[in-house]
Symmetry: C2
Subunit: 357 residues, 2 copies
């Protein structure tokens, strides 16, 4: 099996720690390693580094290569411009197919947190087995732990035959982030799983689906194909890739594909879309608080303290978020953490503060 | 009139801004000037700098001299050790008496905030008039704005005759910090005033009262007297001052003196014993918030942000205190701000954190 790691994202949802030039995947949030280093380490039991591809954009490529010294340089696939996950995975599939046209590949995001890696390995092995033995696209579904309105869902259908009962099911449909009532219904149903964005397929199968469902992207990929691995590759990719339709793999392929299977999992998984979500996926490490750095808390509960550069003292806090990066400080209630987005918008208007994005 | 400014205090009640080596009076809290600079500036309409004495201890003397360049060097009176306000004011009175034995002097703390200086000048002029024309010790009482349990009180008696009616009264008694019920009674009575620690007297009167009420301190002061202004002064002070009884002027003299008058004032005054008290005496300057530094607040109310070194973003806060000094960060609810004391005690136990006190 090959693994393609999508590392093109940039963003400021974890501002002030994440910046446009220092996106989430390059940060140490949970361990001493960065999220992308954790992502690579998690799959080590499954694939050797020469079978790991990393898809990223020019601006982060040097830093990512620095962080992942074990991965061979030719395995870094550079997107000249961001066209979404469909073209990115199309290109990755093409590169992998050039090495082994019938192999199975998994696609992972570089900036997710998973705290039970054994469950990931179990699920990926099962998905590999299904993808190798059928024409299914396989997705890993995450059993919801609460009725989230921030996540996409996948409805699980009949079990696939020929496998341990209930281990893999047909995926009936993908649904976008629901409202609170629908989320509650999904949560209680037992058959709706969160869409982790972790997919497994044979490269020949996904490329054929590109041909059927995104023919123009497929045509451009075929234009690139003869140059893969040649000195001309970068020039041709730079010419053809930006012409591809900007689209997610979910909308462009997964939702329309005829055969999609889901491996239900109990991954403790988060895409860490906000500081609040980080607290949900990471167990507290200082009483009920989640702390990185030196923290002296008097009567402080369920609070995130992220400050590696100097001691933080807190008194009388409940459900707060404190992030100190040396050049900026965020103090928010936990409930309002997603409003960092609004702050970032306001900061863009200010000449002085814009520098901190 | 002379003025003696008591600048010997050190303390960490405004930690992390105040430190043992950088006490409150040396900090810029309210204006761009430090509290001691504000104190001196407030009395400029009343006395020239050559009549302002500053009593402090060795460790802060250089910094205080640097901050107050207009005050002549011989006007800095150095306490070899801290013996409380009674010996400090005894020594200051002695120095002033050596220049003018019948002059009136006022004693002020260097670390209080007063935001209506005109009222201070009015009250000091009145107090000077009373002190010059009688043997009274005169104190400035602050009309309470709430039933404080953190302040000492003075009970006001009959008006003094021969002055505008009600302008000055006999002080009946000094009382220590009361409990909540007594504080409420005092607050409603209309005759209890906060003890500001601002006193006015003739130097001959206070020295005579030292003789009567603190005879041993007086004896040691008389031992110093012949050396005031001579090259031997520092040596003799260093020898005799540490032997004086450690005592406050309130307990040692004011509470026992036969003739004490009170000038009732409506000073907007605070001794800034905590970050909460700073918020009570300073009007908000950014919506309902009190801010020094760059602050972007989303839905943030009644919050103190003190951070001059980097931008602070807050979301969804109510009644919070945030103080960032570059080497330490405090985040507290407003209500719990006085518990900084407890934190400081805990920090003293920790080898690493102790350095930040």
């Amino acid at each position: 099996m090959y693994v393609a790691i999508l590392a093109g994202g940039s963003g400021t949802r974890l501002w002030p720690l994440s910046r446009s030039k220092r996106p989430k995947q390059l940060l140490s949030l949970v361990t001493d390693r960065t999220l992308i280093q954790d992502t690579v380490q998690r799959i080590e039991p499954l694939v050797s580094p020469d079978r790991v591809l990393v898809v990223t954009e020019e601006s982060h490529a040097d830093e990512i290569m620095r962080q992942l010294p074990a991965i061979p340089k030719p395995n870094f696939v550079i997107e000249p411009t961001r066209r979404g996950t469909a073209p990115a995975l199309g290109l990755a599939s093409l590169v992998i197919a050039s090495r082994d046209p019938e192999t199975v590949m998994a696609s992972l995001h570089s900036d997710a947190v998973i705290t039970n890696p054994d469950e990931l390995i179990r699920a990926l092995k099962l998905a590999e087995q299904v993808a190798a033995g059928s024409d299914n696209l396989v997705t890993l579904g995450v059993k919801p732990t609460y009725p989230s309105t921030g996540m996409g869902y996948i409805e699980m259908g009949e079990p696939l035959p020929g496998l341990a009962d209930g281990a893999v099911h047909r995926a009936v449909r993908f649904v976008e982030k629901p409202g609170p009532e629908v989320a509650q219904r999904y949560f209680e149903s037992g058959v709706f799983y969160w869409n982790s964005g972790i997919f497994v397929w044979r490269v020949s199968v996904i490329l054929e689906l590109f041909r059927q469902l995104m023919p123009e992207v497929h045509r451009l990929l075929m234009g690139i194909k003869p140059y893969i691995g040649t000195p001309e590759e970068a020039r041709v990719v730079a010419e053809l890739y930006p012409r591809m339709q900007k689209e997610t793999i979910d909308y462009g392929i997964m939702e329309k594909a005829p055969r999609v299977a889901i491996v239900p999992t109990e991954l403790n998984w988060s895409d860490v879309g906000s500081w609040k979500e980080l607290m949900e996926v990471c167990p507290p490490n200082q009483g009920t608080n989640l702390v990185r750095g030196t923290h002296l808390g008097l009567d402080t509960e369920r609070t995130l303290v992220f400050a590696t550069q100097k001691p933080v003292v807190t008194i009388g806090l409940r459900d707060m978020i404190i992030v100190d990066t040396g050049d900026a400080l965020l103090v928010s209630t936990r409930e309002r953490a997603q409003d960092v987005k609004k702050v970032v918008e306001q900061m863009e208007e200010d000449e002085e503060l814009r520098k901190l994005l």
